[in-house]
């Protein structure tokens, strides 16, 4: 049963020349919706059921049927309708790059993931990986491994403290490091297995499997842009840190690329459909991203979204990003970006507001006042109407 998996896993370790030939195996025949077995799994499911019913009543969940069923559809297109039936998808309004799958079949897809992937194939790569965790019962395995590890350490701690010899303390320290190290390594191996299963789904689907590697390439580029804007050292993507929960990104990009079916590269990646499905939510997801105060990362994301052409929404988001950082030169740029947004879409209400506020602070109060007035005439019911009116009236009272 594990034959093909082991073979492909061996390929991961093999020389690059060999890996090119071996692609991920197609998914094994589906064994049907599985039910929890044994005390531990039953317990985890029960706890998870509880947490899912809380999730169903959480305000973090994006309540948009069309969006949710679209995301579910993308998952189904990768793993097949049969497997897909055991999953409930919840789109969470959370700007980080993540998706999770818990033991009972609850899939949480973060809006930060939806903002970062560019096509159905890329989304399917991540969701297929998560489904792999579910199909292989990884949460249960991790729970058991964690339990045995901490059991061992507890006994060792008690025994070591009964021995006054410093060597006993040292070996306890060593044991602690090696137990935690092996637990973390176990996690990373789970991730590799899920990657392998995920790419297997993509190979067998009608989506382009090469997208999986692209997800990680884009993520590395974003992380680099973010580090650069903060003045940090260039991040390393090839090293495994002791506490790392996942394999390094460069490794993942490389083996995912190698495991993708070469013939699949001519398939559609569904980028156009994806863009259309996200259009309604893009401004919201971008707003949340800008709120993260990650200038480099946000700028990278906006620019990569604009690779398909700048829209009023993207110019506006860029204006908001620069205005939020708020130095004088940022405000001058921001005004420029808002103006471009208005050029493309006269009625972009918030762009008029941003333009006005930026101009007011950069020595152009009369133009700023005009922009703010057009903001208020476009949105007479605006929440901040009084504040804006106060601002504009103070501008008239002090003639320059």
């Amino acid at each position: 049963m594990f034959g093909p998996v082991l073979l492909a896993a061996a390929a991961l370790l093999g020389s690059p020349a060999e890996t090119r030939k071996v692609t991920a195996p197609p998914p094994q025949p589906y064994e049907g919706v599985y039910q929890p077995r044994g005390v531990d799994e039953l317990g985890l499911w029960k706890m998870d059921d509880e947490s899912e019913s809380q999730l169903a009543r959480s305000r973090l969940v994006v309540r948009d049927e069309a969006l949710t069923s679209y995301v579910k559809g993308v998952l189904c297109s990768a793993v097949g309708a049969e497997r897909c039936g055991s999953v409930r998808v919840y789109v969470m309004r959370e700007p980080s790059f993540n998706a999770t799958m818990s033991p009972n079949g609850t899939m949480r897809v973060y809006s930060g993931l939806l903002l970062r992937v560019r096509s159905e194939a890329e989304l399917a790569a991540v969701l297929g990986h998560e489904f792999g965790h579910f199909e292989r019962r990884h949460t249960l395995q991790r729970f058991k491994a964690h339990r045995s590890g901490t059991d061992l350490l507890s006994w060792a701690a008690v025994l070591a403290s009964m021995n006054s010899n410093p060597a006993a303390q040292r070996s306890f320290g060593d044991l602690e490091l090696s137990v935690y190290g092996s637990l973390l390594r176990f996690n990373r191996d789970n991730e590799r297995e899920a990657d392998l299963i995920g790419i297997g789904y993509l190979n067998a689907s009608s989506l382009q499997p090469q997208a999986a590697a692209r997800v990680w390439q884009n993520f590395m580029a974003e992380t680099e842009a973010s580090a650069m804007a903060r003045g940090l050292k260039r991040p390393r993507f090839d090293r495994v840190a002791y506490f790392a929960s996942h394999p390094p990104e460069a490794e993942r990009a490389a083996y995912l690329g190698a495991l993708a079916l070469p013939e699949g590269s001519s398939r559609d990646d569904g980028a156009v459909k994806y863009r259309a499905a996200m259009a309604k939510w893009l401004p919201v997801f971008l707003e949340d991203q800008i709120g993260l105060n990650d200038f480099g990362g946000s700028e990278y994301l906006i620019e990569s979204l604009a690779a398909d052409g700048w829209t009023a929404g993207l110019w506006f988001a860029r204006g908001e990003l620069f205005r939020a950082r708020g130095s004088q030169r940022d405000l001058i740029h921001a005004a420029e970006f808002y103006a471009k947004a208005i050029e493309l879409e006269q009625g972009h209400v918030q762009a008029h507001r941003g333009l006005g506020l930026s101009l007011v602070k950069t020595g152009r109060p009369s133009e700023g006042r005009k922009a703010l007035q057009s903001y208020l005439s476009l949105a007479p019911q605006a929440d901040d109407r009084q504040m804006i009116e106060l601002l504009t009236s103070s501008l008239t009272e002090t003639p320059q």
Binding site: R147, T150, S154, S161
Partner: protein, 254 residues
């Protein structure tokens, strides 16, 4: 010496010991609050969240589906039985849906967080916040969920809300063995099992916490009918306006 302290601290960490005090205050009533028995006030009860499991040797919570299900059933039955003796009209919270359900969920979580804060920063003597030290001397118990509680479903037709939480982790055999060995050998106190519970009464006009009874070392095995009754009795101990001798009467009435 320092080295020894560090080592002990590391051991405690490895054993997953908590720093909660063994003996601490468990209950408080808001200053000036009094609820007379039979005063005809209406109290909404929000059904308790119950989770039951075991505690592994290393201190991990091991959820147990069967125990949780049993405990939930036992606790609900025990609660229904005790309600009659609380001295005022007890109403079950209406089944909420949509936005109302979201609101209930938020307030359940908020109550959990606030009662946790009360336990940590007022009941636990050694960890009292400066303001709470002062409050405690003056007999002041001042915590609130905010006036937003007015929007809870059913709040308009009631005066108070009763919130309950409960979490049990029974020490596994391994944990108990570890406890014994640690006590006999290096004389380290390892806690086996964790039994947290609390009940609080909230004013549905102001959101103020009127009464809280919270204990992180509760008695009664909730997996059994008798144990669950004992637990519920402990949870509702000192409930304002309850009839002091009601418990045996309730049993007799059965």
């Amino acid at each position: 010496m320092n080295n020894v302290i560090c080592r002990v601290a590391a051991m405690l960490l490895a054993l997953g010991l908590s720093t909660e005090a063994l003996a601490q205050e468990r209950t408080a009533v808001r200053q000036g609050f009094e609820l007379k028995s039979g005063s005809g006030r209406r109290v909404i009860v929000f059904r308790p969240k119950v989770s039951v499991g075991a505690q592994s040797t290393g201190g991990l919570f091991e959820p147990n589906a069967e125990w949780t299900e049993l405990a939930r059933r036992n606790m609900n039955a025990a609660l229904a039985k005790q309600q009659a003796s609380l001295g005022n009209t007890i109403v079950e919270a209406p089944d909420a849906s949509g936005d109302q359900a979201l609101l209930v969920e938020e307030y359940l979580n908020l109550f959990d967080a606030v009662s946790q804060a009360v336990v940590n920063y007022q009941f636990f003597v050694g960890n009292r916040l400066p303001t709470k030290k002062r409050d405690n001397k003056a007999g002041v118990f001042d915590w609130s969920l905010g006036e937003g509680v007015r929007d809870l479903p059913g709040a308009r037709d009631a005066d108070y809300a009763l919130f309950i939480f409960n979490k049990d982790a029974y020490g596994s055999t391994g944990r108990k063995l570890l406890q014994i060995v640690a006590m006999l050998g290096p004389r380290i106190a390892v806690k086996a099992g964790e039994h947290k519970g609390g009940a609080g009464l909230v004013d549905l006009r102001t959101g103020d916490l009127l009464w809280l009874n919270a204990d992180f070392a509760m008695g009664g095995d909730v997996r059994e009918v008798d144990g669950a009754e004992k637990r519920v009795k402990q949870l509702l101990e000192g409930f304002p306006g309850s009839e002091a001798t009601s418990a045996p009467a309730a049993v007799a009435a059965r």
